[in-house]
Every structure is written in C-alpha cells, then in structure tokens.
Symmetry: C2
Subunit: 301 residues, 2 copies
C-alpha cells in the first residue's frame, strides 16, 4: 500500500486529461475565435485536474474504464474553470493572478472573460450531450442524462453558485462556524463530490457504493478547502503562484480565520481520515483515491 506512486499516477492522468480537453474543446478559427482562445487560456493554465482525475479514479473503483468517463471528467474541469474565471472578475474577488498567470479578464478584458466563462459552462454540458464525442455513443442515454443532472445540482444554486453567494455575503457580514462549513461544502465540496458520483455512476457502481464515493468526496472537499485556506495563511508564494494573505485582506470567512491554524490542521486531518474510512470496503482499485486524500495533508500548492 505504501508503494503506490501517487506522483507518477497524477502526472500520467493529468497528461491524459489535458490531451482529451484539447480534443474535446479545440481552438476555433471562426470569427468568434477570441472567446474560445480566452476559454482555453484559463483551461490550460496549469490546473491540477483534481476533479477529472477523481472522476476517472471513481470510474475504475468497480472496474469501469477511464475512457467511458473522460467526457464527463473534462466537463467537470470546464465547469470548474468557468467558476474560477467568474470568481476572479473585478465585481467578484477581483484577482489579478491565478496559478502564477494573469487572470482571464486581465488578458482578455472583462467582457470576453465573462463570455469565456459562459462558454466553458455551456460547452461543458455539451461534452456529455454530444453523441459523437469519445465513448458517449456506447453509454446508455439515461446515464448521460443523470450525469448532466448531477452536474447541474453541483454547479447551480444548490451547489457551487449557492456557496459562492454565501461566501460573497460573508465578506460584509459575520458567519458562524456551521455556516462557514456549509458554505465550503457547497462552494468546493459539491463539484468534488459530483466528480466521484459521476465517475462511480459511469463505472457501474450500485447505490451503496455511490454513497460511499459521495461520502469520500464530501470529506475530501472539506479537507481540500481547509488545506487551501491554510496555504493562504502560511503558504509559499512561489510554489502557489499567487500571493498568500488575500483571504484575510478580504475578510473571507475561512477555517483558519474562525478556528485558528492548529484546530484547522486537526480538522483537515480528521476529514482525510473520514474520507479514507468511507472507502473501507473497496479493494486496491480505490488506492489512488486513498492516496489523493492522504496527500492533501502534505500539499504545498
């Protein structure tokens, strides 16, 4: 178990996801090429591909193939990227840099950045709906519809957008700890849980195993968000590609802000343990998911 090469695994998966994204959402030569170029600028700006990798790994837990889940995995990354572009806008978090590069609106202007986000959201759903893309034609249509329905719930007001609104309102208002946790579960957790649920669904999991994957996703999402917030307090600007301290400056309601660093670290550890625990009944095909969870406690970026 200790010998699993997570670094090699992540690198191989990242490359595979990057290749698929390039094929599924190619550059355009039409008059509208600017907006596609802008969308691809952020899509290929060095993301970790966490959500697609989780989706593919979940598909394999019960013996499904990564290829069957690839369009949905890429849709998750496109939807995640759209949310970053819109979050960075001046009217929202007003960030100039992300992953060491100027944010979308800094390069293409606000109008195109808004439309680039809209494009990624729209075309993300298209990857799952297109019958001729990847292995889509071999999958039962009901399953692809279910995938879209899970994506909508995770990305819409019941999920990510809802979390973002609560986050925005928190900048000018006090929030208690349960509200902060609830906000995180939706802002980051919903799409991460959806990645697991969608992968499991396409990989042939039955309801009980799907629930286990979703439970893993919930705890992983919280651990991810807490470690992200900890990096903003104590992280290295060079490794992170952005300046730490922005959450405090913006009065963001984070775990470290509410609980302090020590309790936040403990909370992250606890959620990682719970995530791994949720996979207890799975065999070694779940090893990548276990390793990803444990890795969060050592992340530097």
């Amino acid at each position: 178990m200790e010998s699993f090469d997570l670094e090699g695994y992540l690198a191989e998966r990242r490359e595979r996801v990057d290749r698929a994204l390039d094929v599924f959402f190619p550059a355009s030569s039409g008059l509208e090429k600017t907006v596609v170029e802008a969308a691809r600028y952020s899509l290929f700006a060095g993301g970790k591909r966490l959500r697609p990798i989780l989706c593919l790994a979940a598909a394999e837990v019960m013996g499904g193939t990564a290829d069957d889940a690839m369009p949905a995995a890429c849709a998750l990354e496109m939807i995640h990227t759209y949310s970053l572009i819109h979050d960075d806008l001046p009217a929202m978090d007003n960030d100039d840099f992300r992953r060491g590069k100027p944010t979308n609106h800094k390069v293409y202007g606000e109008a195109v950045a808004i439309l680039a986000g809209d494009t990624l959201l729209t075309e993300g759903f298209g990857l799952v709906a297109d019958p001729n893309l990847g292995n889509n034609g071999n999958l039962p249509p009901e399953k692809r519809l279910q995938v879209i329905h899970i994506l909508v719930k995770a990305a819409g007001y019941r999920g990510m957008i809802g979390g973002q609104v609560i986050d925005l309102e928190g900048e000018t208002r006090e929030m208690d700890f349960p509200t902060v946790k609830y906000m995180h579960i939706r802002k980051t957790g919903a799409l991460i849980s959806a990645s697991l649920e969608i992968g499991g669904l396409l990989g042939g999991c039955e309801a009980t195993d799907l629930q286990r994957l979703v439970r893993y996703g919930k705890h992983l999402g919280l651990a991810f968000q807490i470690t992200d917030d900890l990096l903003d307090v104590e992280g290295d600007a060079v490794l992170m590609g952005k300046t730490p301290g922005s959450d405090v400056a913006r009065n963001k309601k984070t775990y470290p802000a509410l609980l302090g660093i020590t309790l936040s670290r403990e909370a992250a550890k606890e959620h990682v343990n719970q995530a791994v625990e949720a996979l207890r009944t799975f065999d070694r095909r779940a090893e990548p998911l276990r390793a990803i969870a444990r890795y969060l406690l050592e992340r530097k970026s």
Copy 2:
C-alpha cells in the same frame, strides 16, 4: 386563416409558460436565496416568451403536445434571460433599463447579477435533465439528450456567445454586411432556430420537417432582429420600456446602420415571407407560427 386570434393565443401561451417557469424554477428559502431571487427578478420581468411559445407551437405542428415540450421551452427562456443579464452588465452593453425596469445588476449589484445569469444557464439545462420534472419521465432519454445538445450548440460559441463576441468587436471595428448578417444569425437567430428544432423534435417531426422548421426559425430570427434594430431607430420609448437610439450611440453594427431604414424594412418583409414559405407543406396546425412571423412587421415593442 385571417381569423386566427394571435393576440389571444399569445396571451394564453405566455400565461402557461409563466406558470410552468414558476413551478420549474421556484423561489428558494435557503442561504443562497438572493441569487435565486435575482434570477427570478429577470425571468419574470415581462418577457414576451417568444422562444418558449415558438417551441410549444413547433411541438404541435405534427401533433405533439405542448406539455411534453414545456421543460425544454422553459429552458430556452432561462437561457435567453441569462444572456440578457450578462449582456446588460457594465463590462458589456452597460444598460440600466430593460423592459422598463432596472437591469439585474442595477438592483442586485454586479456580482450577484453575474451569478444569477450563471444560475439561469445552469438550471436551464437542469430542466431538461431532471427526470422528475413535467413530462420528462415519459420522453425517450435520447431525445432529451438531443435537446440539450441543440441547446448547447445554439447557446455556446457556435451560436449566441459567438454572435455576442462578434458584436462586441464590431463596436470598435468596421464590419461588412455579410458579417453583420452572420453575427445576427448567431446572436439572435441560433436560439430562435433551436426553439423550433427542439419543439419539432419533441413533437415527433422527421428530419425533413425539422429542416423546414429550422429554415422558418432562421428567417424569423433575422426578421426579429431587423425589426428590433428598426425599433431602436424609430420606436416609442414608452411602448418599448427602454430609450431608443442606444445602438447608434454605441456604434452598433445593425441593419439600419448599414442599409438604411427603407432597405432594412424590405429585408424584414422578405425574411417574413421566406419564413412563412418554409411552412408551406404544413397544415393549419402551423397557423400560429405563420401568424407570429407576419406579426413581426407590425410590432411596436
């Protein structure tokens, strides 16, 4: 044929669409309620419901039911409304009023307006993907996937968003007439054509009849856009609920700007004729579609 009561027909349909939208996208009482309230503010701001009405009418051309097409019809209106909210933003067209009411960002601020648009786009796809909504459960899953795929192509960079980018770039650049026409076909025409195609598909049309509906939609979309631009030049501010003249002020490339008023009126008439001609082989069940096309030449708002 002359006796078709278009006004009564449109009023009845509008009410039915409004009711369905209210059921399919209800207010929320959760912490994220602001964004749903903002989305519903624009969704119920007095729209003509042209796209859903066209979709329902197309479903009935070959004997399908309006109820089967209602979720998709409402999705079209939600996607249309999202595009209006984002178009009105300061970074885009910077409009303060629409249909006589303050625009979304004027009421809720830019951040929430961006998220309200994102919500409508996301949840619009959800209306078609949700298996428990309206008659969705009775429709073949492949058809609902096809509907989503048509929506994506019409709303994304190959359609509406692409047209919007070309439009934005035209504000600071010269555009020849074919480019302006191409821009309109995508910015307004794509979603209108999609309304017809989706309705026809859900109503049981075969390929040839679908093509006829799409051809009708293309010409109707152009006629709609030209008459819209003519209203901006010579319309009545009170009837329109917005101040005319904004296109000229913004150096927008419109039909009247490029062809003048007389030729633009002739072009609108020609497209209405072509739209009606495309429906030649249909029986009287296509009468609403014919009447809607003819009505464009008399519109005042």
